[in-house]
């Protein structure tokens, strides 16, 4: 359970087979193979590519969410940050910059700043993360009405459109973006002292503080990172959708948490890895796609979705009560 946090120089085959990231990948592969043989069109390269492209949005949000959850927190404002980014981006358009890069940079800066405020509330005011980010989500909901006034905005920004639709070398730009963020996330978590501090903070905040971990700075940083990746997801979503509207980010709140948990990261903090969140995100999209294919009513879809998550948790996620 804590292979991510500790050093395992000699990893036996058995420990790899039992690891949650591997299990999650195995489940994805299994589902893809079975569905590929039984459902027409599922196994087509284009369809699988499309599934991963959809997973990229969840994967980006869940990257930030994994950072936060590893430290023992949770961010309930990711949905609102996505929406604010997607709806707010067109406001940052400057005539002087035809590429649209400045608008993206400004949007990401805003999203990170929102995360920063979340982190400051959690670290300085010691407000429980659930409450702080929940209040932030409510606050952003108000802000959104000011920005958008309830109508949808369509995207004119070239770079955003490129991000949402281009396929350099046949691979969607969104997937490439996800790859870059995934590599960076994994590196920060497992190959830097900062990453080690996150796990320490999540496993035992008091001991972490007494061991010299800069608790306040670290906490603020993870929420800022979460704001950043949520903003990135918002930008990507805007590019893929072509337009942004109020509520566009809502579905990503619960799914980002589900992806993190399915990937084996402890919701209590202190153990886990983004390497599990990646297959977790793909799995969620795959389940949704399968449920859509069987053409069930929305009620059955929702029940199936929930039941499958629950079943996967029961299969692999039994977490010893830690207190």
């Amino acid at each position: 359970m804590n292979e991510a946090a500790g050093a395992k120089p000699t990893r036996s085959l058995g420990s790899i087979l039992r690891s949650r990231p591997f299990l999650a990948f195995a489940v994805v592969a299994l589902v893809w193979i079975v569905a590929g043989f039984t459902m027409r069109g599922f196994g087509a390269y284009g369809h699988l590519r499309y599934l991963i492209e959809l997973s990229a949005v969840i994967g980006l949000v869940a990257a930030g969410q994994t950072f936060v959850v590893v430290t023992g927190g949770i961010d309930l404002s990711v949905g609102a940050i996505i929406t604010v980014s997607a709806v707010g981006l067109p406001l940052f358009t400057w005539q002087a910059d035809p590429t649209g890069l400045s608008a993206i940079v400004a949007t990401l800066a805003m999203a990170s700043a929102i995360g920063l405020v979340n982190g400051a509330g959690v670290a300085f005011l010691r407000v429980h993360p659930m409450i702080m980010t929940l209040a932030m989500a409510t606050f952003l909901q108000g802000l959104l009405i000011i920005i958008a006034g309830g109508s949808a905005v369509s995207v004119q920004n070239e770079l955003v459109q490129w991000l949402g639709n281009a396929r350099p070398a046949g691979i969607p730009a969104g997937i490439l973006l996800w790859l870059v963020i995934s590599a960076a996330t994994l590196w920060v978590m497992h190959a830097t002292p900062f990453g080690a501090r996150l796990f320490a903070l999540g496993a035992n905040p008091i001991a972490a503080q007494l061991s010299g971990v800069p608790v306040i700075a670290t906490t603020i940083a993870v929420y800022a990172v979460c704001g950043f990746t949520s903003g990135l997801a918002g930008v990507l979503l805007l590019g893929m959708n072509g337009q942004g509207y109020v509520g566009i980010g809502d579905p990503y709140l619960l799914t980002s948490i589900a992806a993190v948990v399915l990937g084996g990261t402890s919701i209590l903090g202190g153990s886990g890895t983004y390497a599990g969140t990646i297959p977790g995100a793909i799995l969620l999209v795959t389940i949704t796609a399968l449920i859509t294919v069987v053409n069930a009513s929305p009620g059955w879809r929702s029940i199936l979705f929930g039941a499958l998550i629950l079943a996967l948790l029961l299969l692999s996620g039994r977490e010893a009560a830690r207190r």
Binding site: M1, N2, A5, G6, A7, K8, P9, T10, V188, A191, T192, P193, F194, A196, R197, F199, A200, A203, N204, I206, A207, A208, Q209, L210, S211, G212, V213, P214, G270, S271, R322
Partner: protein, 498 residues
């Protein structure tokens, strides 16, 4: 006839045998001591006797009858009550509601509050708890909570009373009350099982002793005619030798930490100088501000000082990273909750202070981390695979990890909060040697201890705190248990200066 007995019980966790064929017999009207080092299996044996865990083999007998499977509730009905080391109390409930938990008197299906109040009042009087019964337990000090825990056990009118290190957080007066109470219970015919690390306490009250070593019973005999050294020999399996290392005066003694007019928490106006190469003891009764003094110096508790010199800085560290940067390290008393990350590997635990100080995004080098950790593990004789989680280690080894992790920082000042509490004799001796070695290497070692002999034999000077102020500063040549205790309770006030 024995009230409660274990016959040949065995228990293993994850394939590791913790108890192997252990028998113990508790007779009415007898105080029975259970001794053993940390990890010898004492707590496990208690858990088997009280139904908290099922035995793998052997039998638990009540009144001579073997009981197949017993839950804590059934054990309670059979008259077995346990005072746990880890308290079983609920902070948000009142004293009375805690005392009655699991055994509430009922009336029409509801809790009979008048009956509960009467019963709780009676047991509270016996243990000397005079706080109002409606006081939430969360507002009590640790020592008082321990007394509530004892009252809770008494409320069940036990025929067998098991106490797991009940005095570790009690004041001298509370300990005296408890010992008197145990005498009364013995006269009433209660069978008492008493676990303690304090040998003199055991020698004073118990009549029979069972000793465990590595999950095996090494002795079961009347206590009469046994001396303390003999008991230690039974526990560690060899001659105890001299527990404390030879003391040598420090050669170099420059001040590395000086504060005047220092206040933190209940600590008021303390002047203190810590010198390189010395072990400075901090003593006093429980809860006189000793811990606040250390935490304040460490930047973990808001503190003020009229003047302060800490290493090169002229001010108190405002937070822990600043304290670390100034060369101060802190080893907490509660290693499970404050010292270690139990679910993380030994290696990550050892490396954490280093991770906290190097640049956040500097790439880690697994091989150099491993080298550092292996060296430290050898130096501190920490046994076992470094990739295992810290919770797999015994208490003594955990304490060594909590100390070892600061070594890569090469701190100038080490603040230790009761480092040998609940640690077995063998590890105690190892820790003592390490502390003297560190002082010999020019470190300043500040040792807060609740164990007076430790202060006498290990320290160059001892500061005694009383009600948040320094009541005495005792130099090596004047150090004695009497000097420390009298300063702690406030008789014969000695010169207060530093």
């Amino acid at each position: 006839m024995p009230l409660l007995a274990a016959r040949d019980v065995s228990k293993a966790f994850f394939g590791n045998p913790v108890l192997r064929g252990v028998s113990i017999v508790l007779m009415p009207g007898r105080i029975h001591a259970l001794l053993g080092e940390n990890g010898a299996g004492k707590s496990t044996l208690i858990n088997l006797l009280s139904g908290a865990l099922p035995a793998d083999g052997g039998a638990i007998e009540i009144n001579g009858k073997a009981i197949a499977h017993m839950s804590p509730g059934e054990a309670q009905k059979a008259g077995i009550a346990v005072v746990q080391q880890e308290l079983s109390l609920t902070g948000s409930l009142s004293i009375a509601e805690n005392i009655g938990l699991g055994a509430y008197p009922r009336r029409f299906g509801l809790i009979d509050y008048p009956a509960l109040a009467a019963g709780a009042k009676a047991v509270c009087e016996r243990v000397g708890l005079n706080e109002p019964l409606s006081t939430p337990v969360g507002q009590l000090s640790l020592g008082r909570r321990q007394m509530v825990e004892i009252a809770k056990a008494l409320y069940r009118e036990p025929r067998v009373l098991i106490l797991d290190e009940p005095t570790s957080s009690l004041s001298a007066a509370e300990t005296k009350t408890l010992i008197g109470l145990l005498g009364e219970l013995r006269r009433d015919g209660v069978a008492i099982l008493y676990i303690s690390h304090r040998l003199n306490e055991v020698m004073a009250i118990a009549e029979h002793v069972t000793v465990l070593k590595d999950g095996v019973r090494t002795a079961d005999q009347p206590l009469a005619g046994t001396d303390a050294a003999g008991l230690v020999r039974l526990m560690v399996g060899r001659d105890p030798g001299d527990l404390f290392p030879h003391w040598q005066p420090a050669t170099e003694r420059t001040a590395v930490l000086t504060v005047t007019g220092f206040s933190a928490g209940m600590v008021r106006g303390v002047d203190l100088t810590v010198k390189a190469g010395e072990v400075l003891g901090i003593g006093g009764l429980v809860g006189q501000g000793q811990e606040e003094l250390l935490l304040g110096l460490y930047g973990a508790l808001p503190a003020k000082a009229a003047s302060a010199t800490v290493g090169d800085a002229r001010e108190l560290p405002r937070n822990v990273p600043k304290a670390n940067a100034a060369g101060i390290a802190y080893i907490p008393a509660d290693r499970k909750r404050e010292g270690l990350h139990l679910i993380h590997s030994i290696l990550t635990n050892i490396m954490l202070p280093t991770f906290s100080r190097v640049p956040a995004l500097k790439p880690r080098s697994r091989s150099s981390e491993r080298r550092t950790a292996e060296q430290l593990a050898r130096r501190f004789t920490i046994k076992g695979d470094l990739a295992r989680p810290a919770q797999a280690l015994s208490g003594g080894n955990q304490q060594k990890v909590a100390l070892a992790k600061w070594m890569p920082q090469d701190p100038a000042v080490l603040l230790l909060n009761d480092p040998t509490r609940g640690v077995d004799v063998e590890t105690k001796r190892e820790i003592y040697i390490m502390l003297r070695d560190l002082a010999a290497a020019g470190k300043a070692v500040v040792l807060l201890s609740s164990d007076t002999p430790e202060l006498v034999h290990l320290c160059d000077r001892v500061v005694v705190l009383r009600e948040g102020r320094i009541s005495a500063l005792i130099e090596r040549q004047d150090l004695s248990e009497e000097a420390i205790v009298s300063a702690a309770v406030g008789v014969e006030p000695q010169k207060a200066a530093a």
